[in-house]
């Protein structure tokens, strides 16, 4: 709030994680102390991987509850309001990891308002840990402030770590952490005085990220299977597997637009990455612009001498020319295929291409859908393509689809001083394959509605998650098998899944949130359907979109296909204006960043009703 006539009574973040599925409720309560009505703003940030599931406002004992609707229908329904500029979008991109939900309402004198926002997400294991990120910016002292996180992990917690960017020596002891074998509770609840920046002043110290990191115990090779209320989830990340050697081709854009800092950061990242190659790996470097000039004609072993030679070469890569992505990637594919055919590369090894680019292809084949087709047919499902999109100008959607079509993933690299670390971090995530062609099998007559159960690779520090529905609701065990290709031998393990007795495991908890396995299954299914709706054949795309929409509505998730519509209380000055919360896609986030770069203050301003992006101008004049 901007006015001192508004008092914030309570800000509470209550997060419950049950088997990686996080359910967070943010509550904020404020009172208008003024003798006139005034606008009160509520802004919260949530991870971009989360789906909003609920939002409500309680104003003068009356509840206004958000409703998840099909996006197109919601748009049509409010077309009039939208066209007259009276509707406000609630969600905006905020930084790399978060999106901001903001709403404002007019509150009568001496009245109070309570906002409650709920969102859910499946925590992803990256580099051996899960992360729960809560961003708190109350902007004022709060009478009751608390962040409470309860983690329930039936596999047992191997460690739990909590820290915050705003924690001073005085605030640090206020973080309470209780960890038992299968449960952790982390709370932080400073008093008003403890929140104060300095004695007697109104500024608050609470401004930043509260981060909890943890991992679970992994004792069995089969992983952990949990059956709850007719749904099951299988977490697979076996311990102590030797890594599989990899054959990696780095396809590096050195076109003109990479000039300056981007080229320099690419060189720095490549030097660090090369240093991390294992001796049994094979690698190649293909710098490209309008011409494609591989460092060597084939992949070579990552011996110390070869790596040193490559590092010397990388130092000399300079920008020039235009961008031929098609030719460069196809050259990489060809090199890997030839290496395998000529037996120069080990049989049991993983093939991958890492493409680093900042821009649109503009020479050779420049039609992006044609490039996707060419790359897909050349790769033929036999290797993984990872794409790193550098900067705001990159066509991220193009890279994202192309990676997903080829069993890889894309990542945006933000143009900033830490771009070198971002590049390196991505490489660390995907550089240590433990298994390839991983197949998780469940009896056909026992389970249905399975999420994806075949994975091209399992990377060190990550985790494979498969969920499904049990045909027989009372079933409490079934056979599970996992197959994969390891370094020296095939990986094969089988075992029995058993239902957990949550009552025994957590005797003191009456209710955690019973349907979490079903919601986890729904979240995962929707995510995979959304991916399929971008990458599959046209009828597959339509089917996947329809299914994802159905499930988003059924489980009340705000996804890119749905909107949450909240109708604000009637305004004295005008008619009702609906508020619409959407889920942003990566492309929309990128667009928003481009705009905010040019319009300072946009991100911190209250929601605007309309925004006009800068458009190109074409003119002719005299001097």
């Amino acid at each position: 709030t901007n006015e001192k006539t508004v008092e914030v009574y309570r800000v509470a973040v209550d997060c419950t994680v049950t088997s990686r599925f996080a359910h967070t409720v943010m509550t904020s309560m404020a009172v208008n102390k003024a003798n006139v009505s005034q606008e009160i703003f509520f802004e919260m940030e949530l991870p971009k991987t989360a789906f909003i599931t609920n939002f409500s406002m309680e104003i003068e004992s009356k509840m206004y509850v958000g409703e998840v609707k099909e996006k197109e229908k919601a748009k049509k329904q409010y077309e009039k309001a939208v066209s007259s500029g009276r509707t406000a979008g609630l969600v905006k991109a905020s930084g790399r990891k978060m999106e901001k939900f903001s709403v404002s309402v007019n509150i009568a004198a001496e009245s109070n308002v309570t906002f409650i926002l709920t969102y859910e997400e499946l925590l992803q294991r990256k580099l051996g840990q899960y992360e729960i990120l809560t961003r708190v910016k109350p902007k004022t002292l709060v009478q009751e402030f608390e962040i409470v996180t309860n983690i329930y992990e039936p596999q047992g917690l191997s460690y739990v770590d909590a820290h915050a960017t705003f924690l001073s020596n005085e605030l640090l002891p206020l973080v309470e952490k209780t960890v038992t074998d299968k449960k952790a509770r982390i709370s932080f609840s400073p008093t008003m005085d403890q929140q104060r920046k300095c004695p007697g002043c109104d500024g608050t110290l609470i401004d930043g990220d509260f981060i909890i990191k943890y991992d679970v115990n992994r004792q069995t090779s089969l992983g952990d299977i949990q059956i709850v209320n007719g749904y099951f989830v299988h977490f697979f990340a076996p311990p102590d597997l030797p890594r599989v050697p990899k054959n990696v081709v780095f396809v590096i854009d050195r076109s003109g637009s990479m000039s300056g800092i981007k080229m320099q950061q690419t060189r720095e990242a490549m030097l660090a990455i090369l240093k991390d190659l294992h001796e049994e790996d094979h690698f190649a470097l293909i710098p490209f612009d309008s011409s494609i000039e591989p460092w060597k004609e084939s992949l070579i072993k990552a011996t110390k001498e070869n790596v040193a030679e490559a590092m010397a070469y990388v130092k000399k890569i300079n920008d020039r020319g235009a961008t031929d992505i098609n030719g460069a990637v196809l050259r990489g594919v060809e090199m890997l295929v030839q290496g395998k055919q000529s037996k120069a590369l080990p049989d049991r090894s993983v093939d991958m291409i890492i493409l680093l680019t900042d821009g649109m292809p503009n020479v050779g084949v420049s039609d992006t859908s044609m490039i996707q087709q060419n790359v897909r047919s050349a790769i033929g499902g036999n290797m993984s393509l990872f794409c790193l999109g550098f900067g705001n100008g990159v066509d991220y959607g193009f890279l994202d689809v192309m990676s997903q079509q080829n069993k890889g993933l894309a990542r945006r690299i933000y143009e900033a001083s830490d771009a070198t670390l971002q590049l390196q971090g991505f490489y660390d995530e995907v550089s240590s394959p433990l298994l390839s062609e991983v197949d998780l099998r469940y009896p056909d007559n026992a389970v249905d509605l399975l999420t994806t159960n075949h994975f091209k690779q399992l990377f060190n520090g990550s985790e494979i998650v498969v969920a499904g529905r049990l045909m027989d609701n009372d079933m409490d065990n079934f056979l599970v098998e996992v197959f994969g290709q390891g370094f020296e031998e095939d990986f094969k393990v089988q075992g029995q899944a058993r239902a957990l007795d949550w009552g025994v495991m957590y005797p003191d908890e009456e209710y955690i949130f019973g349907d979490f396995t079903e919601r986890l299954w729904a979240y995962l299914t929707i995510q995979q359907l959304l991916d399929k709706s971008k990458t599959g054949a046209s009828d597959e795309k339509a089917n996947a979109t329809a299914k994802a929409l159905d499930m988003s509505l059924q489980y009340s998730f705000v996804t890119p296909l749905t909107s949450m519509v909240v109708t604000k209380p009637e305004n004295e000055d005008g008619p009702d204006s609906p508020l619409i919360a959407d889920k942003l896609t990566e492309e929309q986030r990128q667009q928003a960043e481009k705009m905010s770069g040019r319009h300072y203050g946009y991100a911190s301003s209250p929601p605007r009703l309309a925004y006009y992006p800068p458009t190109p101008t074409y003119f002719v004049d005299g001097d």
Binding site: S255, G256, S257, S259, D289, S290, D319, R320, G321, A322, T323, G359, M360, N362, V363, S366, G393, K594, R598, P614, T615, P616, T617, Y618, F619, V620, D621, G622, D623
Partner: protein, 239 residues
């Protein structure tokens, strides 16, 4: 005249000059699908200036929207709108606003004319008044496209060909003839061009002084950046 393609998304701009004999008419925008045509005629200085360089400027624009049946002639003297057999004439000294079913015109006191053709294009024409007794220069016009997103993908012309974006890359920055204007290599439309960093003026916000916009200057009448040759855009009449 100097042509400018400002690309705020890239925080960059491209520019080039096109010059020819005074009296030449160039096609600036041509969209057969939506029936839009913008042609402009250039004029030279009153006499050859001491530096011997003949400057040319646009002094007359002819604009047609066939589908709407609208025709506009804008020159340094006046503005004429023809529709349904009627002619409306406005003077640059007017402060006028004309709202019709198909076309909106707005003439403001800073000698700018804003034209909105229904569901197609929006542009501004600026009149640059030169001291009447200036020994060499005359009044001239500038043409600024404000919104062209409704035009068809086949739109062409010296300006129109850029309405759907342009992909280019600039590399190999090196010292040029003047220290403040370095040279570089531009890759565009499959060609490699030598370009020079410079600036040209955008007069929309300050019709007298303009604002300098840094841009990559493409030499020899935009050769390599524009499709074909500048002479390919010469047309025989204003309409």
């Amino acid at each position: 005249p100097h042509f400018m393609i400002e690309l705020p998304d890239r925080d960059d701009a491209l520019c080039f000059n096109i010059n020819d004999k005074p009296g030449t008419i160039f096609s600036l925008v041509r969209d057969a699908q939506s029936g839009i045509l913008v042609n402009g005629q250039i004029i030279g200085d009153k006499k050859i200036p001491p530096d011997g360089k003949i400057n040319t400027y646009f002094w007359r624009f002819g604009i047609i929207h066939k589908n709407l049946g609208v025709r506009l002639e804008v020159n340094t003297q006046d503005i004429s709108v023809f529709q349904d057999g009627k002619r409306i004439k406005l003077l640059w000294s007017d402060t006028a606003s004309l709202k019709g079913p198909n076309v909106d015109l707005l003439v403001t006191k800073d000698r700018s004319l804003k034209v909105t053709l229904k569901d197609s294009v929006k542009f501004v024409i600026l009149l640059h008044k030169v001291w009447e007794k200036h020994p060499y220069h005359r009044d001239y016009l500038g043409f600024y496209t404000l919104d062209s997103h409704l035009l068809s993908p086949s739109v062409h012309g010296l300006l129109g060909q850029f309405y759907h974006g342009i992909e280019y890359e600039v590399t190999d920055l090196r010292p040029g003839e003047f220290p403040e204007k370095p040279d570089a290599t531009m890759f565009v439309k499959g060609q490699e061009l030598n370009v020079t960093r410079g600036w040209q003026r955008d007069f929309r916000n300050d019709v007298k002084n303009g604002e300098n916009v840094p841009c990559w200057f493409i030499h020899t009448n935009g050769t390599g950046l524009i499709d074909g040759d500048a002479t390919d855009y010469i047309v025989s009449g204003l309409f």
